[in-house]
Symmetry: C2
Subunit: 313 residues, 2 copies
């Protein structure tokens, strides 16, 4: 095998404040969320999804999203994202000052109905309305569509790659700024990941700009590697591997931010992250989330001695 | 990226009875070990390392190795391996009827002294003596050398690839049947794995025939994938991810056999393993090992619905 042309850097987006906290019943106080955002920024993370503009009665955990955006956009160099489920949420995102709004488009018909009470094609129409409204308002905010359940679904089982491609084309044609592929429920394998990222990149080019993986079945890191080899250089992750999906039973555990930071550091691929600061933040957040199931491997084992020596040298 | 030429099949070797049990203080009764061997064979595993010919006072957990070999070699189609630390152990292996003896050669000077009380070069001399003795006895048993701590060492830190290549050449020149690369302490990363497997394969060809990974820092599956892409098709694994190394603090957790079986099944790469039987065996063995720290992801989450549907169709 010839030497693989690894990228020199990748981008990690911390999504624990949204994907992580929405799957946990407890409501983290706003002050702790602000400390999390600031701590992640101080550790070198430059992209964060800080919340979601959904009705507070549905997700009281994320009711303070506007306040978080307001603080987060003041941190120099930080790109702030929020999830929006529909046009109404998008209006709030446009009001908020966030840089990006993320709209999940479930490829699985069953998951789409459970999550947004709309078919995938109805969600595409909603995205069209959001794009039109953004133009009307002349808003600077950018729009990313996350193609979720792209690798399979706990409700309907198999998801056809052709359907991923059809819906990817539909939203690309609408002019969304970028799309991502999400293994919402931890069904992906490395071969499937490499093939689907390759196929979608063939139609999306650089507008395919996010890999979102869950470690539910132990393949999270292997899937990240497969996507990386298929040209992906931006990845979502949650500190301490929290997260899941309320409409996808068993979907526990995003890939842990600190594990991804370790993976890339070990390979000599820059992330801009200060690993020790990130570990300290993980310890702090774990303290706030006592009693919740946390994940991640590097936190338990610590850095290899080989890496410590290399750093000290 | 062009479609990757994945192999159509791979071989998993169950090493839980040796690498797993030697790291656990309790002594599993011989009857349970025999049930484990039989259960793994019934689940389709065709290679097993069943024990170690070390003095019983050092590893009382493995004192019944000769009896296990005697039973295991009667299972049709099963290739039976035993670990040997030196010429004395090799004599016992030659007496035992085992098909393969595995000798660990630590690339790390510090680990070699801790593990075998010999420098790596003294171990090479011991291997020369074993090869000579095998010829003298005209024994059919084959010899595999596991190049351990090949990716780093908890005692000395960094391990130089040049040293791996030097010692690989030395034992290949002695005429050992095959060699493997072992990440004894869970320090490897996918890039390093791809590069080292590539470099060693360049001098060893098909005699490089084993990847042995620990999941200590969460990269076990990603490293297996990297080795696979670098041409490796045989992997060691331990049921329930038990294992480690008594002389490598923190080296907990071989990659779990059931997780590897799931990885390859999800990618459509044959292992010959009946996944449901393997999961049932895992449950049985976990019952015998109650109180011990077990690992593995697929056991918790279960097969994806997409895979169940594909199977039923």
């Amino acid at each position: 095998m010839p030497p693989f042309p690894w990228p020199s850097s990748v981008t990690l987006r911390e999504v624990g404040l949204r994907d992580g906290l929405q799957s946990i019943a407890r409501v983290l106080p706003t002050a702790q969320k602000l400390a999390w955002i600031r701590g992640a920024w101080e550790a070198g993370l430059r992209e964060m999804e800080v919340g979601s503009f959904v009705p507070a009665r549905l997700l009281p955990q994320l009711a303070d999203t506007a306040e978080l955006v307001d603080a987060a956009v003041r941190l120099p160099g930080l790109t702030v994202s929020v999830l929006v489920p529909n046009l109404k949420g998008a209006e709030r995102a446009m009001d908020s000052g966030a840089h990006w709004m993320l709209l999940p488009l479930s490829i699985s018909h069953a998951h789409s109905l459970a999550n947004l009470r709309k078919t995938p094609d109805a969600v595409v129409e909603e995205i069209a309305a959001i794009v039109a409204r953004r133009r009307e308002r002349n808003a600077a905010i950018r729009l990313e569509v996350g193609l979720s359940t792209a690798f399979g679904c706990t409700l309907q089982g198999r998801v056809e790659p052709e359907e991923v491609l059809r819906l990817a084309r539909a939203v690309l044609d609408l002019g969304v700024d970028r799309i991502g592929l999400a293994d919402t429920v931890g069904y992906a394998d490395p071969r499937q990941t490499a093939e689907l990222f390759g196929a979608v990149r063939a139609i999306a080019g650089d507008r395919l700009a996010c890999g979102h993986f869950h470690d539910t079945r132990g393949l999270g890191m292997a899937n990240v590697m497969a996507a990386l080899q298929a040209g992906e250089t931006r990845f979502d992750a949650c500190l301490a591997g929290i997260g899941g999906c309320p409409h996808a039973p068993g979907a526990s555990g995003n890939v842990a931010t600190e594990d991804l930071a370790y993976l890339f550091r070990s390979m000599g691929i820059a992330t801009g992250i200060d690993f020790e600061r990130l570990q300290a933040l993980r310890t702090q957040v774990a303290g706030w989330l006592q009693g919740e199931t946390l994940h991640g491997a590097i936190h338990r084992a610590g850095l290899p001695k080989s890496m410590q020596v290399a750093e000290a040298a």
